[in-house]
Each structure stands twice: as C-alpha cells, then as structure tokens.
Amino acid sequence: MGAKIVDFGGWDMPLHYGSQIEEHHKVRRECGMFDVSHMNVVDVKGERVRDFFRLLLANDVARLKTKGKALYSCMLNRQGGVIDDLIVYYMDDSWFRVVMNAATRDKDMAWVNAAAKEFGGLTVTPRHDVAMIAVQGPNAKEKVYQALGEALRAPAGALKPFHAVTVGELFIATTGYTGEDGFEIILPAKAAPFTWQMLHEAGVPPIGLGARDTLRLEAGMNLYGSDMDETTTPLESGLAWTVALEPAERKFIGRETLDKQKALGVPRQLVGLVLEDRGVLRNHQKVACNGAGQGEITSGSFSPTLEHSIALARVPAAVKIGDRCTVDLRGKPASVRVVKYPFVRNGKSCL
C-alpha cells in the first residue's frame, strides 16, 4: 500500500502511506483504519479474576458491572510508577481481557505473570493468534457495517462508548485512540488480511503511526513512555481520573505512594500547551514557568486540525491554566499558553 515502514518495538510498522497530515484529516473528517495488531491482547481467567484486577490496577474493576464494559487504567509498580496503561474488558465473571502496549510487552508479561502466580488460581494467555484493526472517524461505524456486514449493525451499533461485544469471531469495542467515533476490532489473525481488504474496498484508507500520534495528542490521550513511565505516578500524569482511591480498603499495588502524594500535594502536573509563536514544540524541550520553576514537554507536535503546535508538558503544580510560559525552541525563547486539554474532540477544537 506504499507505506513508509519504521521499526517500532521490534514490529515493522507503517509510519505513513503518503502524507501524514492528509491521513490525519481523513480520520477527523471521514474515517481511516489502523493496523494495531502489535498491541498485546491478554486473556486472564479464573474464578477470582475480578479480585486479581482490583489488586493489580489503580482503577477499580468493581466499576465494571455489565458484560463487555471496558475500563482504562494504569498498572503500577510498588513505588506508584506506571508500568503500563491498558484497557481491561469485563467479559464474564471468570474472564477479563486486557489490551496493553507493544513496546512494554516483556516487562508487562513478567509483572502480570508474577502477580498472577502469587495470587493463584488464574490462567494468563497472551493472544498471539489475534490481530487488531482500529476503524476511526465520523463515518467509521457505517463503513464497518458496509464492509463487514449489516449483521454487525444491531449488536455493535447498540454499544455505548467504552463497551465491547463479541459477534462470531469478532470482538468489537467502542474504544479508540483518536478522539473520534469508531471501533477497535480484535479478530483471528488469519482473518485480518481479508478484513483489511474488505474495509479498503469499502473506501477506508489505511492510516500510519505518524497520524495516530498527532490524533491522540490532539485528543489529549497519554502515550506510554512519553507522557508517563515508571518514574511518574498517574497523579503527575493527568491520570488522576483513572485512579480509584475509594474504597480506602482496596490495597492495589502502588497505592501507598499515591495516598502520600494526595496527602502532601502532588508536586507536578500534566498540562496542555499551545505555542503562540511560530515553530514546533518537541518532546523534552524545557518549559520555564516564571516563578513556578521548570517543566518539560512530554509530547510535542504540530496539530493538523488547529494548524499550530501543541504539546503536553509536565510542569510544577503551581502553574495554572491560562498562564504563559516560555519554551526553549532550539535556542530561541517562544511563548506558550497553558491550556486544559483535550485540544480536539469529534473533529472540533476544544480551545
């Protein structure tokens, strides 16, 4: 399909199939599809699987009350640092499915396997036999029905956001990493090339990793390894909403540090930045926050929708929305405005 291929955590991944900006606009205005088969799909089964995830994750799977419901969460180390972020699906009372990042696969599996062994009575099965295709954009759902069959319309169309349903061999979820409507579809790996082809014939263009990154940044979604890692807690990473500190008796791994941070005050926060001068904000550029100290850009790029540069940055807690800071842009000071993110949702600016 004419893709420019890059190595991503050992996977050959398409960076773009032509123009990254055009691919970005396609997803915001119509739809596009992403081959995200590198994501690590793992099924965990056992009678006490719910209790296991209540221990393993910072968010509380007790919130998952209906089958197919999904929850976004961080998995923390004992110091409260983020090992990975993931989506967990409640399939049934003895089966939860998690979708984790690819680049962190080895350490994730080591951690989950060790925790499961200690907990006991669980089977942990990485699903090497499945592929994953995300179809995203305002027209995405219609295109999926058109390409893969009207039979999907009733079960998949009825899904609320962040839910999944199994239809035959397809697992269809209303999740995504773009801030647009659409599905993420997990399917048997052997059916993936044909499914991809059917979607392509229905007029769904393939979208590369490049546009995937600008879409998620505009949507204000964290990227593991850039916006958070094992040295940062979710509270310092704009992910406080994904941490369930109630009930207080749920002693999930990493909790102590979070309780302490909460009591003493979280020293750093993740904020949005909008560049007011010309140029492009980039990862690791320093942010001078006047009297409040210094921060650093964790994800910076050009926003194709807004047509100027935006970023996520970790800055001292004293920095407030609306403040102006200065970024060292390749040796030149540039003015940025601190904003609440997301920057873009459902095709429209949130600024």
């Binding site: 960076l15 123009s19 900006i21 980039r282 540069s309």
Partner: protein, 131 residues
C-alpha cells in the same frame, strides 16, 4: 524513487544549488530530504543580507515528525529568501526544486561551487544512506 535533476549541484547535507543568470545561486532541499522528513509544517528562512559560512546552519525546516537545520552550502550573502514558504511550508514537499526553493545567495567565491557534488555523486550518496 528519489528525483535528482542532472543540472544541479548538491551537498552531503541534502541541499541543492542552481546557478542563476545574474550570478546568484538558488538553494533548496532535495527531494530525498523532503521525502525523509515528511509533511513540512514550518520553515525558518535566513535574513536577506545575512553573511553565511559554508557548512553553517542558516535556516530550519520542520515537519510533523522532526526538525532539521538547513546549511549554507557555500560562503556568501543571502540576497533573497522565499517568503512563500512562511505561510505555505508544504510547497517544499510539492515542488522542492521549483516553487519550494529556500533562498538565493551571492557566492563569496564562485569556484566554491566546483567543490560540491554533481547529480551522479549525490545519487551515490543517497543510495549509500539507504543501506
């Protein structure tokens, strides 16, 4: 495939040069360079009148994914910058050897051009980078 016009001179840092009838030299970045960088979103041009040194940065091109310096290919003085690129940086992707040129300069020493790569040598350089 990279597009490498036969009648231009090239640098190892992927600029092209074209001698003009008035004695000035037009400079831009090559098809290979813009292809590697992808969609351009910002171009910083040198000031007209600026004195530049061979091999020293005199501008910046930024794509969605990366920033890259543009180097003065030879010593001289900038006589014109292509201000079209300030508002339409994508012109570099669309027409890097034409409307996407970056600046014109007056060489301090015309013979400096002879020390640069010809199309054949540049083609070999691009081929070697692909391995």
């Amino acid at each position: 495939m990279s597009n490498i016009p036969k009648d231009l001179k090239y640098t190892k840092s992927h600029e092209w040069l074209k001698p003009e009838a008035d004695g000035s030299v037009r400079v831009g970045i090559t098809h290979h360079a813009q292809d590697l960088m992808g969609d351009m979103v910002y171009v910083e041009l040198p000031q007209t009148g600026a004195k530049v040194t061979a091999g020293k940065e005199c501008g910046v091109v930024e794509s969605v994914k990366a920033a890259s310096d543009v180097y003065a290919p030879i010593a001289g003085e900038i006589v014109e910058a292509n201000t079209v690129l300030s508002d339409a940086p994508e012109t570099v992707n669309k027409d890097c050897y034409g409307a996407g040129w970056m600046f014109r300069m007056r060489p301090a020493n015309k013979a400096d051009l002879d020390g640069l790569l010809d199309a054949k040598a540049y083609e070999a350089l691009v081929a070697s980078e692909k391995h």
